[in-house]
Amino acid sequence: MLYREAGDFKTSYIEDNQTFPIAFDRYRYYAILAISFLILPFLVNDYFVNAILAPFLIYSIAAIGLNILTGYCGQVSLGTGGFMAVGAYSCYKLMTAFPDVSIVIHIIIAGGITAVIGAVFGLPSLRIKGFYLAVATLAAQFFLVWLFNRVSWFYNYSASGQINAPERTVFTIPVTGPNVEPWAMYMICLIFAFVSAVIARNLTRGALGRTWMAIRDMDIAAEIIGVNPLKAKLSAFAISSFFVGISGALFFAVYLGAAEAGDSFGIQKSFIVLFMIIIGGLGSIFGSFAGAALLVVLPVILKLIGADFLGWPTGLVAHIQLVIVGLLIILFLVLEPHGLAQLWRIAKEKLRLWPFPH
């Protein structure tokens, strides 16, 4: 009954090609946008934003980035943490070198710088694939973190190697530094996540996205039908890194406020973003959000239930959490390799026929 296209007539190609062709789905999407843009900013407090919403939105951008590369173009990458570090450190250098330029521009330029670095580290993908490419991107991860630890220019020669985000404003409202209002932090993350998702969704629907998917499904066949693998793979690396760079810049400047390459952008970061797209669903923008939501919210919920409700020792709760996240990854890989996005798709199919499935 829900999600039905019956009676939903399209009279132009534009209408026929829209992202959400089913009217009900479209209204649901508008409703979610309205809630997140118009209602949530008035409800959020420090804890919701800092513990749940900001990390969820920022990880979503990173997951969208990695999903473009791994989910849509089929190139496995373990360098996400390193590329986030590129975004964070370029944002820091730009923030401190040009304090008068808007932070929004800095974040976008930081994404651009990461895109260039990502394309450079994407070059080996033209020759190697699969596990071997994963190892090459792993090298990028370790090299980049080492570089930011080693060369003091990147952290402005501070004694500890930490980078600290000074206060910057958008329309005179602070969005970085210690005096950020929770709604301002939420809004800047939300706007970047929203715009990133719209861009990514439309890229993957267009010609470029089709060449990526052709490469993913069978690169030799794709080459024979006229897809340029050089262009497709490098553009996937560049665009993916652009989003990852933006998320790294937000992660440092807006969310953490202070960061250190090895601690904040280590190999664990690469893995957690990879887990997000595996659990959420490879090759799905919705899946990027779902995976990020699960991996950000789940530990908080488990902590609240275990430590605050049941009063278990915090160490025990932390260990149980590791077990549950590990179990989830295994279960998803075995039972539903397409992740939460596939569950959502199945649910939609069912709802479409409900309550008369025959």
């Binding site: 420090d46 004694a159 930490q162 090895g262 601690d263």
Partner: protein, 426 residues
Amino acid sequence: MKKTLFAAIAATLVSGAAMADLVFPSLSYRTGPFAAGGIPFADGYADYFTLLNERDGGIGGVPIKVIECETAYNTEKGVECYEATKGEGSLVYQPLSTGITYQIIPKASADGIPVHSMGYGRTSATNGRVFEWVFNYPTNYWNGASIAVKHILDLNDNDISGKKITLLYFNGAYGKEPIPTLEALSEKHGFEFNTLAIDFPGQEQKSQWLQIRRDQPDYILFWGWGVMNQVAVQEAANIRYPMENFIGIWWSGAEIDVLPAGDGANGYKSLQFHNVGSDFPIFDDIEKYVVDTGKAAGAGDQIGTVLYNRGVYAAMLAAEAVRTAQDIHNTADITSAMMRDGMEALTMTPERMAELGLPNFGPTFQVTCENHGGEGLGAIAQWDASATKWALVTDFIAPDDEVIMPLIEADSMAYAEENNLDLRCN
């Protein structure tokens, strides 16, 4: 679904808050590669407050509530813990992680909650004129570096020109802190200074120790934490490095760091800013009121170890600051702003330490508006493998302020300028 989730979380938060206790958040880590150091500290911190509750009914008649939150030494979880606990009336944060300290210095300063990074964190926070809400008494890393060099000077009749000293450090904020001080000291005393970094988490140090075998430094200073301590001590024993020339910072000098290397670790030295062992009257009270009543934190097997003592010391200094604050403001139920005043007026005398059941446990020091770091004294402890005991082998040594003060001034002023802060205490 999202809404029910929010409602559930909101319900938990509301039910947890609204109690007129003295709240001490304990941002601990009982998991991860640094748990070996995090567990005893967290146990000591919690046990001392339990003791005060059981024996004295809190501080000044107000009961104490410790909220523990697991960070796993991870800065993101640290932020989450900070946000989760700050609304509960938290009086002071002691995160036991330099990374998390850097994270919460600006946040806590904006929220008006003091941060006490005891022997870690941002060294230049010693300058109270810039850092209103941050304290790092009784000492800090730069003092530690200077005290270690002073000890080496003592051993060599005050002449170490031409000697080779290598700093082996955790490649992060914590390990990098002493480098500028050691560079300045190397210029002053004419020793040759080299650095060797160990990356997180530090279970693999073969290449660093190969480098040490090649360079043959006269002394090694070591800034390690967690699992990398055990590995480093073991590696030093393996290459038969003279252990008495291997000096760790206070975070690299617990029983757990040296026990795995067995006899090979004999003679290894570490800095300490408080005394070691369980030969103090307070431990009888802890035994009586905390352990025997079954209220000990964790597994209860850490009592009297170096890091447990440090947890007790941290809790004791916090409790003393509360007492000072209660005296200043004439109220038993203090806020975090009053707590700050108490910390700024804190004076530790030998008499007071003895009263608390901790005679000769720590150095005497006095915190002032300008100086949030105390006098910065530290002592050298040495490991006796046959007795499996640490023992202090020197008195508390004063650091070389002539070198450190200008560095602190420069770094804190840079922070003040970056953040447009006005100087205090005028």
